[in-house]
Amino acid sequence: MDDNLLDEFSSDNKQDGMIIFDQTDKPFLLFYLIIFILGIILTLIAI
């Protein structure tokens, strides 16, 4: 693959300001952790 070509197509090839978590993600992060931790706890106590 031609990396120059890739840069040409890419709309967000600048890494500055590229946010992974933002404010809207915070409730979902909590949601994700609840599911994950609940699953582990239930599994451990069931064994």
């Binding site: 967000d12 946010i19 978590f21």
Partner: protein, 491 residues
């Protein structure tokens, strides 16, 4: 009306409402097809995880555990490996190219004929897959509600089509949050209940709970609990097959990975599949253990019914929550496949190929029309389920050939457009010969699954043609308009 039935009905109405609620997010065709490339990390990760956890990962893993033991845990370990591979090695390329579909990515990597061939193969494969998965969904609803299978399929198919029509990928993202919550809580709660409350009630468990009670119960009905609990109970070849399926099946599977295309940026596109992999990892521990419980308790003789029989036999509220979890896993997968199929049909075949000079409004309208056509036709297909479907389903096995084209296109500079095109064509021809045993029984002779067979054929074809053919002016004339300036140049 049973408690399980009531829980399922309330849940289904809530899901349709949630899907329709997403309509306010849609203003242009990109909103429908890739959620305006505005999905955050959690939306992308839960959408991928919910889509991936389907009938095979729930009912299928319980079925395998019922017959062959807990070695089935490798199914989700291998699937997680495939998702992590996709996330770390492929996702950012797709996202940086701003593609909407996998065939569109091949358009950028190769040429027009490869893109057209990939589009047709994807649409046909996913259309059949939608019908097959809708049948599994209808069977689950029938087992809980007692409704006729055809009615169950029709209700599920129409409801799903309605909420996808409202907002496309936004609907999938919204409902996936509810689906993931249901799968991620309903199934482990049911598992916990079975292990702690139901197993001690079995006469053969000697009052013990957890795996100790399950082992005692299995031994007392003449089974070898040590062998069934072994993580290697399926044998090395089955584990190897799971890994091959995970590696070949995920990085070019439109229905699973298209949520990464809708990510806000390539970093989210890359990280989300890794988080999805963590979510799906423990699923077969829960479903497999419930499958083994069905066997120890003698709930059924049919492995396919192991999970459903367990959930219907326990406390109705806990069982209802568990069934809602399995229902969520199935419906999220069917909705994802239906949407993936409609995306390729509307964007690649209908608009870009057949009606290239059309505006955004036209794309939006036809995306919805194709969701409607594929949703309704698949519902009726699942109701009648013609026998030809079982034969035609092999087209879905060709996704391994797509993976070969994508991987080589990214990392091998000699990859030639003719190689990609013929790799797809040869995989299709080889798949037809394998499926119809022409001229002999390939499965018996080579001992290979059809998807592995198609992938090997496409790999050999791809490498051979790429080494033999060189890029010429003629090759470049077949390039898509965006990159024609590279006329005569190598890759």
């Amino acid at each position: 009306m049973s408690i399980q039935f009531t829980i399922l009905i309330i849940y289904f109405i809530f899901i349709i409402f949630l899907g329709i609620l997403a309509v306010r997010k849609v203003k242009a065709s990109d909103d429908l097809l890739v959620a305006g490339r505005n999905l955050g990390l959690m939306y992308v990760s839960v959408s991928i995880a919910a889509e991936y956890m389907g009938g095979l990962g729930t009912i299928g893993t319980a079925e395998v555990a019922f017959s062959q033991g807990m070695g089935v845990i490798w199914y989700h370990i291998a699937s997680s490996f495939g998702l992590i591979l996709f996330g770390l090695a492929f996702a950012h390329y797709y996202r940086k190219y701003n593609v909407i579909t996998v065939p569109e990515f091949l358009y950028y990597l190769y040429d027009i004929k490869t893109w057209k061939a990939a589009s047709v193969l994807n649409v046909v494969g996913y259309w059949f897959f939608t019908i097959i998965q809708m049948t599994a969904l209808g069977a689950l609803v029938t087992s809980v509600t007692g409704l006729d299978l055809k009615i169950s399929v029709l209700i599920c198919g129409i409801a799903m089509t309605i909420y996808l029509l409202a907002a496309g990928m936004w609907s999938v993202a919204f409902t996936s949050v509810a689906f993931m919550l249901t799968i991620g809580t309903g199934i482990p709660i049911a598992f916990w209940w079975v292990m702690k409350k139901e197993i001690p009630l079995l006469a053969a468990s000697a009052g013990l709970s957890g795996y100790a009670g399950l082992a005692t119960a299995l031994n007392s009905v003449g089974l070898n609990a040590t062998a069934l609990f072994s993580p290697f109970s399926l044998g090395g070849m089955a584990v190897f097959g799971y890994f091959i399926g995970g590696i070949l099946g995920i990085p070019a599977a439109q229905a699973t990975i298209n949520y990464s295309f809708g990510a806000k940026n390539w970093k989210i596109a890359r990280l989300a599949p890794v988080l999805a992999a963590i979510l799906i990892l423990p699923l077969s521990i829960w479903t497999g253990s419930m499958g083994l419980f069905a066997r120890a308790a003698g709930l059924t003789n049919n492995p396919k019914l192991a999970l459903g029989a367990t959930l219907m036999s326990i406390h109705p509220v806990i069982g209802g929550i568990g069934i809602a979890g399995v229902f969520a896993a199935l419906i999220s997968t069917v909705a994802g496949i239906l949407f993936g199929c409609a995306s390729i049909m509307a964007k690649d075949i209908w608009q870009r190929w057949l009606h290239p000079d059309t505006d955004d409004q036209y794309v939006s309208r036809w995306t919805r029309i194709w969701i409607l056509i594929i949703g309704i036709s698949s519902s009726f297909g699942a109701m009648t389920l013609p026998k030809i479907l079982n034969q035609a389903f092999f087209v879905y096995s060709i996704r391994g050939a797509l993976m070969i084209c994508v991987a080589f296109g990214i990392w091998w500079k000699r990859s030639h457009p003719d190689a990609a095109y013929w790799a797809l064509v040869v995989a299709l021809i080889g798949g037809v010969m394998y499926q119809f045993n022409f001229p002999f029984n390939f499965e018996a002779f080579f001992k290979l699954h059809i998807s592995v067979w198609c992938t090997i054929l496409s790999l050999i074809t791809f490498v051979f043609i790429s080494l033999r053919n060189k890029w010429t002016t003629q090759t470049s004339s077949e390039l898509p308009p965006f990159i024609k300036y590279r006329k005569g140049g190598g890759k």
